[in-house]
Amino acid sequence: METLSDRKVKELKIKAKNIRISIVEMLTEAGSGHTAGALGMADIFALLYFHTLKHDPKNPLMPSRDRLILSNGHICPVLYATMAEAGYFPKEELLTLRKFDSRLQGHPDRNFMPWLETSSGPLGSGLSQAVGMAISEKIYGGIKNIYAVLSDGEHDEGNTWEAIMLAGKEKLANLIVIVDRNYIQISGNTERVMPLGDLKQKYKNFGWNVFEVNGHDFWEVNNAIYLAHRNKFSPSVIIANTIPSRGVKEWENDYHWHGKAPTKEEAEKAIEELKTGH
């Protein structure tokens, strides 16, 4: 959580670029899956796994590890690509995504990869599980940090708000939520499908400590996480404004990329751009 050096940010940018290339490759090989959210969250996942989280790829179930719950399980290509980049499993395995008997199931699945904190996919229940983990730490005097990544779209689910209310009530200061505010969901713009409006204010009203950042700016996100940890009185949410499909200009901000995979031709072009761009 210490301040990021220029050199560290350079390193994170390379990691994020590798993660994006892996995402495009694995989705193309799979022929289906969710592209936009995965690409949009590559910078944040690089920061989490290569700077923020206490974890050990060689000992994935280390009891004292921080917990990260990915609630919007459909963006799992970014999780898998980041874990491979961190050394949890060989990068070649990424190409088994969504295939029979693969550890990389279409949505994260603990039955196939036991060191995932939860199986997820059905939206709206990930924050509750993170809240449960934070409550357990609070009751039993633990010091682990609990992180949850949520999509903006899954704030349509009542279950998400039930969890937001409970975290505020229980003052779960060991809980940090990152919301991928990319303004798209599967059938369109979030504000058209179901307007979420001022998410910042909504969280504030439920007793949360709220930050809004540019989700592609490593310093801004890191700083928010640092400040969130300093607050000992309430749960924190970091609303990260991201660009869906970030890194491939033609796909950016286009909701059609929420739930589809690139063709081989599209992928070749995109990988070329990722290698040379940003």
């Binding site: 719950i69 603990r110 039955n111 904190e117 939860t118 199986s119 996919g121 059905p122 709206g124 229940s125 509750s128 599980q129 993170a130 809240v131 449960g132 983990m133 934070a134 409550i135 357990s136 730490e137 009751i139 039993y140 633990g142 009542g158 279950n159 039930e162 969890a163 209310m165 409970l166 229980e170």
Partner: protein, 334 residues
Amino acid sequence: MLNQKLKLNTKIFNHDVEKISTRQGFGEGLLQLGVENENVVVLSADLAESTKANLFAEKFPDRYIEVGVAEQNLASVASGIASMGRIPFITSYGIFNPGRNWEQIRTTICYNDQPVKIIGSHAGLSVGQDGGSHQMLEDIALTRSIPNIVVISPCDSYEAEKATMACAETKDPTYIRLARNNTPIITTVDTPFEIGKAQLVFIPETGLAQVGIIATGPILYNAIMAAHELEKRGIKVKVLNLSTIKPLDTDAVIALAREARAIVTAEDHQIAGGMGSAVAECLSQNYIVPIEFVGVNDKFGQSGTPKELEKHYEIDIQSIISKVEKVIKRKIAK
């Protein structure tokens, strides 16, 4: 006659048989668990008094979480707590838990295989006056279709207490089905209990049974009363208390079918997908005999006293006797 190897309540045939609710037994068991197992955490969705979780809450406030009227959160928060090595009990009415939060139970608890103990109180028609919207008649079907889960429907307060204590010792997601009203005490403190083991509570004085009744939950009392009456008429009956519906004690069910060659199942639940369906799934594959089902036949309930409702929806003692007579006729016709 009662199978006294099980040390059952000898006063069961008295008119003034003692009555205590299964939810009360759960509350007592939970309180004991609070003392014995510091990993037990209890969550309530604004119904602590009704579910008797309040007994635990008063004694162990630090391990008690009130989530408000939010059953979906109740289930998935408990999954998170369990993943940290704890044993959460989630308590509400059966209609909401597992009714309202079925997908959260399926995905966050059972798919993740977390040892959350799901307590659904006020199940069955026996809720009575609250009416059809609150009479949970589909919970056995909902839960037993989920992989990894254990489903228990205790017959009385003592069995509910023992089931509560026993399930905290296992790593399995578990559903315990409870009822609101005071119902007859069938077992005693000394009656053995084991998850997954069905017990013959009523047996013929001599000889083989002509019919086997398999019952689950407090309606087991009706089955015993029916057997008692049939015994007077010279019909030999065995009654099996199937308190664990999943995993099914197939050995006990098949053995009863082999002996009696005719089965009646009885439950305060829809016939579709319930305990009787589980028995039929087992016997149709292992030992085919005629089966009659006592249960609610594709209808919703309504307000009324438990007695009135039992009669109207045909799950009372007389209905069980009628189904026994019918299944014996089918057996002979065969």
